[in-house]
């Protein structure tokens, strides 16, 4: 299925891109993160397990068990620091 993946803040900078379209077989956010870890050394570093990476599915904060669907929008970003 086709999905949109967005990156923000330090993760966006590390990857040199803010958004990418992907064709994926991942069924959850955890699966997708595993898949992204393999596509480049910078992905492997920016999204490494053990790093504080937060995720959103269709613009709602979600944990790794959240299920993806065709056309969904996923985002990876560091802990938020607004206010």
């Amino acid at each position: 299925m086709k999905i949109t993946v967005k990156y923000f803040a330090s993760i966006r900078e590390a990857l040199g891109q803010g958004t990418e379209q992907r064709d994926t077989t991942a069924s959850t956010l955890a699966d997708l993160r595993d898949e992204l870890l393999t596509i480049s050394p910078s992905h492997a570093m920016a999204l490494a397990r053990g790093k504080p990476v937060r995720m959103a599915l269709d613009q709602v904060m979600s944990d790794e068990s959240a299920a993806l669907s065709d056309g969904c929008e996923v985002a990876f970003f560091p802990p938020v620091t607004g206010g």
Binding site: M61, A75, P78, P79, V80
Partner: protein
């Protein structure tokens, strides 16, 4: 009707915002507001500028949901949140939360609740310019603790 959430580059005026929020609502007996501003120091270093990035779309939705949660939890009449993005300097205003209610207790609490929620769940990121270079600001565990006081477990840091 006045939008409840604004994410904007421009500065804001607290008096104007409060006047609009309570305009012609004769039930209101209390207005509480919080304004966050840019400090010139963080973690012991001088801060020259602060740049705020956010997730357009999600930011507005997340803050709308926080206001809904505050309306459900506290007996308040109206709330408005403004958050600035882009390049800011020390002394600049960053964020405003304003709440109206019949009595002070509810709006004091709702104002703090929305702010605690926003600090840990709204997708904003700060990058500060220091003499040693630019760096992303780290999330604070104390902000997670502040949210947990409301019975909400959603660790960010």
């Amino acid at each position: 009707m006045l939008p409840r959430v604004a994410v904007q580059l421009e500065d804001f005026d607290l008096s104007t915002e409060i006047a609009m929020l309570r305009e012609s609502d004769k039930r209101v007996g209390a207005v509480c507001s919080f304004v966050g501003t840019v400090r010139d120091r963080n973690e012991g270093d001088q801060v020259a500028t602060l740049e705020l990035e956010h997730y357009p779309g999600m930011t507005e939705k997340a803050i709308e949901a926080m206001i809904d949660a505050a309306m459900a939890r506290f007996d308040i009449y109206a709330a408005r949140v403004i958050h600035r993005v882009g390049l800011l300097q020390p002394l600049d205003q960053i964020v405003m939360v304003a709440v109206t209610s019949a009595h002070r207790g509810e709006s004091f609490q709702a104002c703090e609740f929305i702010m605690d929620y926003l600090k840990t769940q709204a997708p904003f990121w700060k990058k500060e310019q220091t003499p040693a270079g630019a760096r992303w600001v780290d999330a604070r565990v104390s902000d997670d603790t502040a949210l947990a006081r409301w019975g909400l477990q959603a660790p960010n840091a």
